[in-house]
């Protein structure tokens, strides 16, 4: 990892409208958690439903998308990546540095608020907050890796990433049982199932399998992104 690349990346990420959008969404999540706590009281099923549907299924993938594409996408788009590529830093190292920023960023903006929302709604009972926080954590890291790879491979990473997040994980996941075994959401929810003591969340994937798949995806995507960056060509538009 290279400290300068890390520094430049996180400053670019936090320096603009992207950061405001992310902050706004995190704040809204917390606001909703508070609203629910006030209107519903403490109801663990509600907590699980809410965090499952809003945080893990929507917020985390979207944040992973915004941050994962945001750490390298704009640079490739306007061509300024050449400055980085012409420095004596190995391409995998560049990717690793950017991945670090993306993972930490997504965790901070998505996973931590999820955990806090869980605390707000259910306190520490049943380790629900912890369970969902952990799920959001691994999902954040996984999505960061996936979307970072997509950004290196195609200039339309955002659209393809959205298609993946919405169609694969969302639509298909509900209709096609097999698809669920290959869903980052399900892998992370298996973690929740394992951690929380209440029987509120069930995942279609066993913890061991999920763990392995997560590790494979995270490491594999990051490694492959490094390889693809080696052969990156800056073509014209579209």
């Amino acid at each position: 990892m290279n400290a300068t690349v890390v520094r430049l990346t996180y400053r670019a990420l936090l320096g603009g409208r992207r950061a405001w959008l992310l902050l706004l969404m995190s704040v809204l999540l917390l606001a909703m958690a508070v609203l629910l706590r006030v209107t519903v009281g403490v109801d663990h099923q509600v907590t699980a439903d809410f965090l499952g549907a809003v945080a893990v299924a929507a917020l985390v993938p979207l944040f992973g998308l915004i941050v994962g594409t945001g750490v390298i996408g704009p640079e490739i788009d306007d061509g300024s990546i050449v400055y980085l590529l012409s420095k004596p830093i190995s391409r995998p190292r560049i990717i690793l540095s950017k991945f670090a920023v993306a993972a930490v960023g997504t965790v901070l903006f998505a996973a931590v608020p999820t955990f806090v929302a869980g605390l707000v709604m259910s306190g520490t009972a049943g380790r629900i907050a912890l369970g969902f926080g952990a799920a959001a954590l691994v999902a954040s890291v996984a999505y960061s890796a996936i979307f970072l790879l997509l950004s290196v491979v195609t200039r339309h990473a955002v659209v393809y990433g959205l298609a993946y997040a919405l169609i694969w994980e969302g639509l298909l996941g509900s209709f096609v049982p097999g698809a669920r075994t290959l869903s980052v959401q399900q892998w992370s929810l298996s973690l929740t199932e394992a951690i929380s003591t209440r029987d509120l969340v069930s995942s279609d994937v066993r913890l061991a399998v999920a763990g392995v798949l997560l590790a494979v995806v995270i490491v594999g995507a990051t490694w492959y992104a490094g390889q693809r960056l080696r052969v990156l060509s800056l073509a014209g538009e579209e």
């Binding site: 409208r17 992207r18 109801d43 509600v46 439903d49 955002v158 659209v159 298609a163 919405l166 169609i167």
Partner: protein, 297 residues
């Protein structure tokens, strides 16, 4: 190119243009047509066509299925499996992707390459530009919604369902489609106009639409069923473009609601209508404001 065929240029010479010069109205229409075609990738590279056409296809597939079912099972069913007006809410993901991809494609290009001053140094006013772009994307979305509805309608007619009823339902649904299109297009364009980076525009639009819908639905579900407060749940529908337009449709066109909780009562309905128009108007105003600043770069 100092050996450029000066002889050729002298031979033909420069011709003055004495033909008609169309006014603002026609020019705006030309920009509208250009943007509408661009929304479906026509007139651009082949790659630009892939996504919109794919989305159009995916949008129509369920409609085909429904039409086929209506014909095959015409002995058993007396109506379409899915009402016309609910189709748009069920397929909202596709609409969202379309807006997210095409709103930035429409605006961000001109912003990024700073082509905007070239437009405004012509007899085109800022409001004309906004009107053309807003109108074009609204129309594009309307076509996206109307196509599958027409397919279902034809299927219904072929299955000899009551023509009068089906036509009535279709027309109401098309009216609702106009509102959906305008709201989606407006919100999408406002977000897109804030950034010259197309990728970020796409992500921001999706986030606003998808997240707001996921959040509002979840909250509505919880509040309606677990707290048993359908009124509050209904009001929450104002907070996401999808549920807002659906609420409008439910109340004004007496459509069947697809949201978790419909607008609460008559007051709710009226408020939904007012807010819908206010949102469309606000988007219009914001876009005009945005382009007032942009041209002076």
């Amino acid at each position: 190119m100092t050996d450029s065929p000066a002889g050729v240029i002298h031979d033909i010479g420069y011709r003055k243009y004495d033909g008609p010069r169309l006014g603002r109205g026609r020019v705006t229409r030309a920009l509208y047509a250009h943007s509408l075609r661009g929304a479906y990738g026509l007139g651009r590279s082949a790659r630009a066509k892939v996504l919109p056409m794919l989305l159009l296809g995916v949008m129509c597939i369920p409609a085909f299925v429904i039409a086929v079912i209506a014909n095959v099972a015409s002995g058993v069913t007396t109506e379409l499996v899915l009402p016309y007006s609910r189709y748009v809410v069920v397929t909202q993901g596709i609409l969202t992707i379309f807006v997210a991809a095409q709103a930035p494609a429409s605006l961000s290009r001109d912003l990024r390459f700073k082509t905007v001053p070239l437009y405004f140094s012509r007899p085109l006013e800022r409001s004309d530009y906004v009107l053309a772009k807003f109108g074009a994307l609204t129309t594009a979305l309307f076509l996206l919604i109307a196509a599958p509805l027409l397919i279902m309608y034809i299927g219904a007619l072929l299955a000899e369902l009551p023509a009068g009823r089906e036509t009535g339902d279709l027309l109401l649904a098309l009216l609702g489609a106009v509102i959906f299109s305008a709201v989606f297009a407006g919100v999408g364009l406002v977000i897109a106009s804030l950034t010259a980076r197309r990728g970020f525009g796409v992500a921001a639009i999706i986030t606003v639409f998808a997240l707001s819908f996921a959040a509002v639905s979840a909250l509505q579900g919880i509040i309606r069923y677990e707290v048993d407060d359908p009124t509050l749940a209904g009001w929450l529908g104002l907070l996401s473009p999808i549920t807002l337009a659906d609420g409008f449709q439910t109340w004004v066109l007496d459509a069947s609601s697809s949201a978790v909780a419909p607008p609460p009562g008559a007051t709710g309905g009226v408020v939904f209508v007012l807010v819908t128009f206010a949102v469309i108007g606000a988007c219009w105003a914001l876009l005009n404001l945005r382009y007032r600043k942009v041209a002076v770069s």
